[in-house]
């Protein structure tokens, strides 16, 4: 089950960056995000999977589709990529893969470890950790993220204003 999801995630993300039509890239991004949410559900983090579906797959992809429809007609294809940029991109991607793969495989000895036991995350405990001011609790980043979202809203309205 895990292999199906991981393989589909890799295939969809590869198709998302190599297709020439942009609207198909947005659709493949949507499928990749759904596969990511399935991975979160399989790891017993249900809240995170739900947040991923609601925010990423439901919010950001819709925003992408709006931006695509505003800035280009969907019938156009992008032009064919020049070979110089493709070689450079492939070299950078393969270099990243080799370095991170080596760093990962040389430290971890088991490849298919079973999941360790974890009791399910209690929503009340999650809420109190998010809003608490104790030792390992996250009230300060929570407020900082809300200020960031406010700044982002104001910035977005100012940048995309009608002249």
């Amino acid at each position: 089950m895990y292999f199906i999801v991981a393989l589909s995630m890799i295939v969809f993300s590869a198709m998302a960056v190599t297709t020439r039509k942009i609207l198909r890239a947005a659709t493949y991004l949507l499928f990749t995000l759904f596969a990511g949410a399935v991975v979160y559900f399989m790891l017993d983090y249900e809240f995170l999977g739900a947040v991923q579906i609601a925010v990423y797959a439901g919010g950001i992809v819709v925003l992408f589709v709006f931006a695509i429809l505003l800035t280009s007609r969907p019938g156009d294809n992008s032009e064919r990529l020049t070979s110089k940029s493709r070689v450079l991109g492939a070299v950078a991607a393969i270099a990243t893969l080799v370095i991170t793969g080596y760093a990962l495989i040389s430290r971890v000895s088991v490849a298919l470890a079973p999941k360790p036991e974890m009791q399910a995350l209690d929503m009340q405990q999650l809420g109190s950790t998010l809003m608490g001011t104790g030792d390992g609790q996250y009230l300060l980043p929570f407020e900082a993220v809300s200020v960031l979202l406010l700044a982002c809203i104001i910035g977005g309205v100012v940048v995309a204003r009608k002249r």
Partner: protein
């Protein structure tokens, strides 16, 4: 998935396609955090909270990037990164 994002970011000319590959990179890093948290420290939830905040920040950053792209489209009428080579004055 991160390598697909890197490849797409360097190769594509369309700005929205570059944003797509940026989203792929961010999502790959999020999954990495969650998996490490689950397998190495199953009692603590720090990886999950980091991923939660990373999702929120990525959403804010994508919205603002799309606003900037729409503004550029109004000024130049196309969204190629290779054709933006003039400053304002």
């Amino acid at each position: 998935m991160f390598c697909c994002g890197v490849y797409g970011f360097i190769t594509r000319k369309n700005m929205i396609a570059m944003l797509v590959s940026l989203e792929l990179m961010l999502n790959a890093v999020d999954i990495n955090f969650v998996v490490f948290n689950r397998f190495l420290y199953p009692e603590q939830t720090e990886g999950m909270f980091f991923t939660l905040f990373a999702i929120a920040i990525a959403a804010a950053e994508t919205a603002l990037a799309i606003a900037i792209i729409i503004n550029i489209f109004r000024a130049v009428r196309n969204i190629d990164v290779r054709s933006l080579n003039e400053m304002k004055f």
